[in-house]
Symmetry: C2
Subunit: 69 residues, 2 copies
């Protein structure tokens, strides 16, 4: 199991966190996603090596940006 | 056809406007809903007398509040 964190900017409300959570949850191997609206910190639990490119693509698909790991 | 406007507070992003739009669009007789995020102004087109109580309930169901007509 691996746990990764990224910081996402642009989220303003619970709908935003849901959109990010749902997109990231759809990535292969992801078993849990925690999103903190205030900090933008997203904690991703995966049962295989996490594809960082897929995470970036998922966040952008939701309409937001990653600023850092 | 009647056109009504209400002002909704608490919307912060496009997901918020979509949530309000969808709830109000489900009210009997409503044919169009325009939501302006910056002003909070919601313009509702209806083909029958609009139930203001239903509009208030719809906005609250979406998680927001009406402040004025």
């Amino acid at each position: 199991m691996t746990i990764s964190t990224v910081t996402v900017t642009g989220m303003t409300c619970g709908h935003c966190t849901s959109a990010v959570r749902e997109e990231i949850a759809a990535i292969a191997g992801v078993t849990d996603v925690e999103v903190d609206l205030d900090s933008g910190r997203v904690t991703i639990t995966s049962d295989q090596d996490l594809d960082q490119g897929a995470v970036k693509a998922a966040v952008e698909e939701a309409g937001y940006q990653i600023t850092g790991g």
